[in-house]
Assembly symmetry: C2
């Protein structure tokens, strides 16, 4: 990392990273602050901003209780960015604001962790890449928590060690029934109103794609369909795509199917079935099962289960942000990776004829 | 049914149907004769034919033991077809012989039950349709046993009754690892040598397609891929296709994925996952599960399992053949249905660029 902002806050001297949070909605309260709370010795919320003063005040009060001191709050993010006691910001806003606010933040000399999907469309995604290129002195990261989930790292290790032989087929499902009555994400108008390309399909899609790309390499989509069952939650609530993965070191290329569906009852969750020539792996949220036909009795399956609980990667994400700011290593969840995730899912939607 | 052959053997008078078996291989010994043995009061094997005298003799001896009388056997099927004491034949041969032998049989005035896939290619399939049209006095049936499996009939009833609401997505997998060392079908050279279009992919594919068409209506394939992992078992051992089903009375149209794979270890069998707006149905061989999210607790699944053991439909197939010959009703597994199954799977293979 470059010198400017960086040397002021040398992590190795156990100083806190002073973090400004822009956006005090669901992502801040439910996903980010719980991770930050666990890293109190390394990170402190030093300012909070939300367009609604009530939400800003509420999150600031939570920070006050955490650190036993008063946390300034703003309704205008440029005021937060102007503060000297903010080294870095978490941009946790409706996606269509990601580019504008990130640009202001880096121009103000702040490191940035910006929520996924990276940008509202590919054009703004490319502008994000340009910002990263133009500001090598700053750490810019996409808050793609799936990149830090233990379950996928363990799965990658098992696949590389040949646990299931050559990969024959990958089937990845992200299934749920998202109803406005019971799910608060289904009530956020910038999601249901498609203020970013693809709405929920992109919102969930970048998670799936990032996990798949980390495990299997880049994906080339050969066929795709999108459709809508419940118009209450947006212009599309399902995507079905066929792909070929490029493979990675120790992991063979393979064909696969990706299915994202927000209107299914009875099944739910993130589930991957990876079929191989010597066994099959099922990743069901935080559980990995390896199934093998017994060699002497090909009709009999032997099964091994392992459980890898994680916090969905949020803590690892902040640890990576901190270590990148310390100059230890480039972040795993770079803007480039976030752009490729977005490009893949939007490419599938466009191939399906559902592009905006 | 027409008068000619028919009145000679009026089933209502409890006479036996005198059945000639042409082809004394795996299908005859493992699949058909066990069903015929259970219908001894209605059906008798009256002659047997196989190119290899040894196999013909062996099956004739089995029939001898069954009925306590000597069963004539032949190595030339035209000799079997010339016999007066053969009312109907089961054509259980390598698929590329289906059309030629079926034509000879109907020209000899015999009812025909011919093994699936109906024909070696669509051109011969159309000739089969013509034979059916030209011989309304005879019953012609495809031995598609899946049409008679209890599990699919029960599933259809449950879907029609609204058990899972509107169908959102269908995922049908037929997965196994077929190794010549452990599976005798994998050693039949007319299958591995592709003496009929598609080899194993078609051989298994028509079963899947027939079950799907019975449940969901006709399938329109929008994208498909075929590939090969183990060249020992043929030019292709996997197919992946996306489709839209037309729907049936009480069953909504839906999108779906079909995956046939003969080179996967660890997972196996015929498994359908049918996702709906009010629940999901999993058909796992002879087990049907209905999963539902609880309405008050959307994160909790309620599950109901039912078990419908069957003999894979072989007995029902012969009962249908008998009742069609008695003139009770047209057979369920008609040549027309078998042709549509074949047309669907070969269409997918051709779309995938894997046509012969």
């Amino acid at each position: 990392m470059g010198p400017a902002n960086h040397e002021e806050h040398d992590m190795s001297q156990a100083q806190h990273l002073r973090l400004g949070i822009i956006g005090a909605g669901i992502a801040a309260n439910d996903l980010h602050v719980p991770a930050i709370e666990k890293l109190q010795d390394k990170i402190r919320i030093s300012a909070v901003c939300n367009r609604s003063p009530e939400k800003a005040r509420r999150l600031a009060a939570r920070a006050d209780r955490l650190y036993g001191q008063e946390t300034p709050w703003f309704t205008d993010y440029t005021e937060l960015l102007a503060r000297e006691d903010v080294d870095a910001v978490a941009v946790l806003l409706p996606v269509d604001l990601n580019y504008r606010v990130t640009r202001s933040a880096v121009e103000a000399g702040k490191h940035v962790l910006v929520e996924k999907p990276l940008a509202a469309n590919l054009e703004e995604g490319r502008k994000m890449l340009k910002l990263e290129e133009d500001h090598p002195e700053l750490v810019m990261m996409v808050a793609e928590n799936f990149r830090y989930r233990r379950v996928y790292r363990e799965a990658a290790g098992m696949l590389k060690s040949g646990a299931i032989g050559e990969i024959q087929h990958i089937r990845w499902d992200f299934i749920m029934q998202m109803l406005p009555e019971t799910n608060k994400y289904a009530r956020t108008s910038w999601r249901t109103g498609h203020s970013f390309a693809g709405g929920f399909v992109t919102d969930g899609g970048v998670h799936v794609i990032s996990a798949m790309r980390d495990l299997f390499g880049d994906l080339s989509i050969s066929a795709a369909e999108v459709w809508s069952t419940n118009p209450e939650i947006g212009k599309m609530d399902a995507l079905l795509a066929q792909f070929t993965s490029s493979g990675r070191e120790g992991i063979s290329p393979a064909r696969g199917t990706l299915h994202i569906n927000y209107s299914v009852n009875g099944l739910k969750g993130m589930r991957a079935v990876i079929m191989g020539t010597r066994g099959s792996m099922i990743i069901d949220d935080v559980d990995i099962s390896i199934l093998k036909n017994s060699e002497s009795m090909p009709d009999e399956s032997l099964s091994e289960h392992r459980h890898f609980p994680d916090d969905k990667g949020y803590r690892g994400e902040y640890e990576d942000f901190l270590s990148a700011i310390s100059g230890t290593a480039a972040p795993v969840s770079s803007i480039t990776q976030g752009y490729k995730d977005l490009e893949t899912i939007l490419g599938a939607i466009e191939l399906a004829g559902g592009g905006s």
